[in-house]
């Protein structure tokens, strides 16, 4: 399945907002989805992403789904955030 991150907003900055996004994902989008299924996370349309927001969403998704593909990560804040999470938050994607 594919998750379009821009559906949570173009500017994704705070930890509480990330927590809320993950709760919504858990309740609706990934509920009942086979954890071995390929999960595509698409950043197309995201303008500002921070480690605080992403740590609450991307890091947690990566802990649940071993098969993740990241799409459209060219935005400078997306690239830098993923780099920070890989280095300091054990993100393994």
């Amino acid at each position: 399945m594919k998750i379009q991150i821009k559906k949570f907003g173009e500017m994704l900055m705070s930890r509480p907002a990330g927590r809320e996004a993950y709760l919504a994902l858990s309740a609706y989008l990934i509920k009942g989805v086979d954890r071995q299924e390929l999960l595509e996370i698409d950043f197309e349309g995201v303008k500002v992403l921070t480690p605080s927001w992403a740590d609450e969403v991307i890091t947690k998704l990566a802990q649940e789904f071993p098969n993740i593909k990241l799409l459209n990560t060219q935005n400078s804040t997306v690239e830098a955030t993923l780099k920070t999470l890989r280095k300091y938050s054990d993100l393994k994607i």
């Binding site: 500017m11 900055m13 705070s14 930890r15 509480p16 907002a17 303008k47 500002v48 992403l49 921070t50 480690p51 605080s52 740590d55 890091t59 935005n75 400078s76 804040t77 830098a80 955030t81 780099k83 920070t84 999470l85 280095k87 300091y88 938050s89």
Partner: protein, 194 residues
Amino acid sequence: MVNANLKNLALEWCVSENPKIAPGDYYCASRDFFIAQADNLSADLKIGGKINDSDAYMILAMIGEIGNNSFDHNIGNWPDAPGVFFGWSIDNSGAQIILADRGQGVMATLKKIKPEISNHQEALKVAFFERISGRAPESRGNGLKFVREGAKATKIHLTFISGDAQAELNQDFQIGAADRNIRGCLAIIEIKKR
């Protein structure tokens, strides 16, 4: 580019013994208001093409991390006035953006998980460079590493003061004593027009 008045307003609020003196339009008492103001800054930064979109978004992400840190680490525990000072000044030569809070400060926050930290300069070094763990169930603590990398990438100058320590970030990182003691945090971002 440097708006001395804006800087003085932030400093006054940071060190005032009477925190009820709120700096008018620059005061964000809640996180929601801070986020809304960041949205306004997003539009202002791009007016006239002074700063390209990619750098503007990166600078906004850095500001998001610094401002949200103030709320994340002080919510329910503000010593007096809650919230942040958040102001900016943009002209033909570039922009200056200031964030400040009257929170616990970096050292008091980090001492909870790293009690061996003995002074503010050491606390800033840890905040900007070290991987911080042991905050379960919270996993906060990576924002300022991201800010350090962002300062390099966007070629801005960031002055970050907490306690009696002052860090200067651009392509390098330097740390020393601050002129004035700030209990919480004060961040000044200076961007030259490219």
